[in-house]
């Protein structure tokens, strides 16, 4: 029996071993000559079709769109060198870049882009809000997009990966993707779902060509594992690392941590129609009573940028002249006193007409740093004589309470540039048409000057003129403070010092791996 048993186990073991060997046998390429850049991220493309899921191709560089987004987050030329809109805002004309070829060698023309865009519109829900009536190729280098109604955000929307230019040989007769054939500095080679995407250098790239021969993009959901891969030299770049891991690399030689604030702000939205926060002075008092630096050191491991306005300071759209609210308890107490809130019974909490100051802050647990941040704010406000109660729930539950208006403050993380243009967030969160409908931003707040500026910006084409309008909106919002900006989310990317040339992008639009080289 024992002998039989041993043989059985041995056979099972051998069977298991051989099973593993017959599988994918590619392994890791170790040859020294062709350079291979390996990076790891948690993002997994749900499908290899860029028109359905566009981020991956755009980030690692095998697809490009008509427009791009620069490091400040503003829309710049990419496959289109120039664009203009008719005075009624209904006809957009794009001049396409000359001398661009797809990875399969076919020329990039207006006709090819028309086919590609038409497929984007059917495949992706990203363009549901874009009123496109039709697309025409008026000559080989000119593409005309007709709109049903005036729509000035088209260039911003066309920067999305779902609008990337694909050669028509990328899909079969049924419209199903075979292989993404784009125009980027790297060509798509292979995809192993949940494991990796391999790219090779595009020798015919229209811009400055890539400096490495191959790129392997590894899909590693666990930050811990990306950390291990970095330590064992299996990868040169790990993107989006948690602060606790990144802190360990900050003073370590051989690695560089890049800290990049992203267009997502942690903020408190006040209930602007309910006492006590219907009084701007009380809202300002909260702003002065919050020590923003202390929030970053005590909750965010020292990683974060104190909040000034809606957009992070290195964004093009940020109003850089806005002065942040300094931490000033005297000023906070003074403002409260001006609004009628004074500590008359000496219990440390201010009262008005005999009622103590007691407010309710709502926040959710999905973003793990928010509840501890709420607790620190609670202590800080207490020092100024404000008593705050915290309610933590799931985002679904708190959203339900939020919509009923049964709260005083809502602490949240808010993405502000889903399309690389301020219009969307301005309309939903600060224009009265949005704020009257339970906006996440300035809840039930309105300001006619803000409304007219936002409307004016919608019909203005000149970039710097629009920026001036949005700058004014931002200063009004900060002064009247229907919301309190606390700090911005930060992406932490870590590279080892074998490579150089990588720069974190503000909204992870593109890694620009073509600029990366081995030193």
């Amino acid at each position: 029996m024992k002998k039989h048993f041993c043989i059985l186990v041995l056979m099972l073991f051998i069977a298991v071993l051989t099973l593993g060997c017959t599988g994918t046998q590619t392994g890791i390429q170790q040859s020294a000559k062709p350079t291979t850049l390996t990076l790891a991220a948690q993002w997994e493309p749900k499908t290899i079709d860029p028109h359905e899921y566009g981020y991956t191709g755009q980030r690692i560089g095998y697809t490009e769109s008509l427009t791009g987004v620069d490091y400040e987050g503003k829309v710049i030329p990419s496959l289109a060198t120039d664009w203009s809109v008719s005075p009624d805002g209904k006809t957009w004309t794009f001049t396409l870049r000359k001398g661009v070829v797809f990875h399969d060698g076919t020329p990039f023309t207006a006709e090819a882009m028309k086919k590609s865009l038409e497929r984007s519109l059917t495949k992706s829900m990203s363009f549901a809000a874009v009123p496109i009536a039709g697309i025409d190729a008026s000559d080989t280098q000119t593409l005309v997009v007709r709109m049903n109604k005036s729509f000035l955000l088209l260039p911003a929307y066309l920067s999305r990966g779902e609008a990337s230019a694909l050669s028509s040989s990328s899909w079969d007769a049924n419209g199903t993707i075979i292989k993404p054939i784009g125009t980027g500095p790297f060509m798509f080679d292979s995809w192993k779902p949940k494991e990796e995407i391999s790219l090779v250098k595009n020798p015919r790239y229209w811009g400055t060509g890539a400096l490495v021969d191959k790129v392997v993009y590894r899909i590693i959901p666990e930050a811990l594992t990306r950390n291990m891969l970095l330590k064992s030299d299996e990868i040169q770049l790990a993107v989006i690392m948690p602060p606790d891991i990144a802190v360990g690399y900050m003073n370590q030689s051989g690695f560089t941590v890049q800290q990049q604030s992203i267009p997502r702000v942690r903020m408190i939205s006040f209930n602007n129609i309910k006492a006590p926060f219907n009084d701007a002075r009380v809202r300002q008092a909260v702003n002065y009573a919050i020590d923003r630096d202390a929030l970053i050191t005590s909750v965010l491991e020292g990683i974060g940028t104190p909040g000034t306005g809606l957009f992070p300071p290195d964004s093009y759209w940020a109003n850089k002249s806005i002065q942040p609210y300094p931490y000033n308890l005297d000023k906070a107490r003074q403002l409260l006193a001006d609004a009628g809130w004074k500590d008359t019974n000496g219990d440390g909490i201010v009262e008005k007409d005999g009622n103590p100051f007691r407010v309710k802050l709502l926040t959710y647990s999905e973003r793990a740093e928010l509840p501890p941040m709420a607790e620190v704010i609670q202590q800080q406000l207490k020092k100024a004589g404000m008593d705050m109660e915290i309610t933590v729930g799931t985002s679904t539950a708190t959203e339900g309470i939020f919509k009923t208006g049964e709260y005083d403050m809502y602490l949240m993380g808010r993405g502000v540039l889903f399309t690389p243009d301020p219009d969307e967030i301005m309309m939903t969160d600060y224009h009265s048409s949005g704020t009257s409908k339970n906006a996440y931003g300035a809840f039930r707040w309105n300001n006619s000057r803000v409304d007219s500026l936002i409307e004016q910006a919608r019909t203005t084409q000149d970039l710097s003129a629009r920026k001036a309008m949005y700058d004014e909106v931002q200063s009004i919002v900060v002064a009247e403070t229907p919301v309190a900006y606390l700090n911005y989310y930060v992406n932490l990317d870590i590279t080892n010092d074998k490579i150089s040339g990588y720069r974190s992008h503000t909204n992870e639009y593109c890694y620009h791996l073509e600029n990366v080289y081995f030193v």
Partner: protein
């Protein structure tokens, strides 16, 4: 014999039906509107438009009452149609069949390692009861059984992948990628297997037939190898069989850490993205694997031990 087998197979049906109801309810009654959550992921926005949500609800069949949705769902499941992932647009069956071999391979490797190490360890500990090896074995099982898998994984990664650099950190390019994850899974299993083997062995050694063998003049080695081990193995095999299903559970953590594209990771990702069809598919797959393995263990028990007769069930 045949009747027993048929009876046992028929017993599975209510179990599976119960599982299907629980699976369906768990996913349906979880808070949040799946259509809205899907749209947030697809459109990468915090606030999808109400029109888009209602289109999505209709597309996902969420506008029907709960019990009708269950029967529609069940009739499709029975036909092997587990729906589609709203993210990848691939069928659930395709996604699961893609992931299953990796997990099977991982579980089989972990099982093999724990048999090869755990059983001899248990025998040795029993034969020299309260000896040095027995004490070592006891300490090992306490530590091995109480240390969480992710912790063992980090320690092994630090030693073998980062300091010694002899094994890769993560991925699934070949056999070497499966060594660390399967050892992590095996450690907890070895800890228990060796203890059960030891206890079972000690019980058997006190049986009358062992005493008979000894009084007959058989030497100790023959008694242990020819008589004791054979009988002591039976409860261990039952245990190991059921543990095969447990390994699939452990795979959830191990596959995430080692970035293996198995069904454990598929489940985690389905939970995170609320990819309902995939999540239901994974839960049903886990349930079927558990039930089938239990059935096989039960039946093999009858086969292996003629003393047990399932005459009337």
């Amino acid at each position: 014999m045949q009747a027993i087998i048929i009876h046992r197979i028929l017993q599975i049906i209510p179990v599976l039906l119960g599982i299907s109801i629980i699976t369906f309810l768990l996913v349906s009654l979880a808070p949040g509107d799946p259509a809205e959550i899907s749209l947030k992921a697809i459109l990468d926005t915090d606030s999808p438009s109400p029109e888009a949500i209602s289109v999505m609800r209709a597309e996902m069949g969420l506008d029907q009452p709960l019990h009708i949705r269950y029967f529609i769902w069940l009739s499709r499941v029975v036909q092997g149609d587990l729906g589609f992932s709203y993210l990848s647009h691939k069928s659930t069956v395709h996604e699961i069949l893609y992931a299953l071999p990796t997990t099977f391979y991982l579980a089989a490797l972990a099982m093999s390692i724990s048999i090869i190490i755990g059983i001899p360890l248990g025998i040795a500990a029993a034969v020299r009861q309260n000896g040095l090896l027995d004490h070592f074995c006891r300490i090992f099982s306490v530590i091995g059984n109480s240390t969480p898998e992710f912790f063992i994984a980090i320690i092994l990664l630090l030693v073998f992948a980062i300091n010694l650099k002899i094994l890769p950190v993560a991925g699934s390019g070949g056999f070497q990628y499966f060594i660390l994850p399967s050892v992590v899974l095996a450690i907890g299993l070895i800890a228990i297997t060796s203890r059960i083997m030891r206890t079972s062995m000690l019980d058997v050694l006190e049986e009358n037939y062992i005493l008979t063998a000894r009084s007959k003049g058989l030497d100790r080695k023959t008694i242990i190898t020819k008589h004791a081990i054979k009988n002591a193995l039976l409860p261990v095999m039952t245990y190991m069989g059921t543990q095969f299903g447990w390994l699939f559970g452990g795979a959830v953590i191990v596959e995430s850490i080692f970035a293996l594209p198995g069904i454990g990771r598929l489940t985690v990702e389905a939970v995170e993205t609320r990819d309902i069809m995939i999540l239901q598919g994974c839960m049903i797959t886990f349930a079927i694997i558990f039930v089938v393995i239990n059935l096989v263990v039960d039946l093999s028990y009858i086969y292996l031990n003629p003393a047990i007769k399932y005459e009337e069930v």
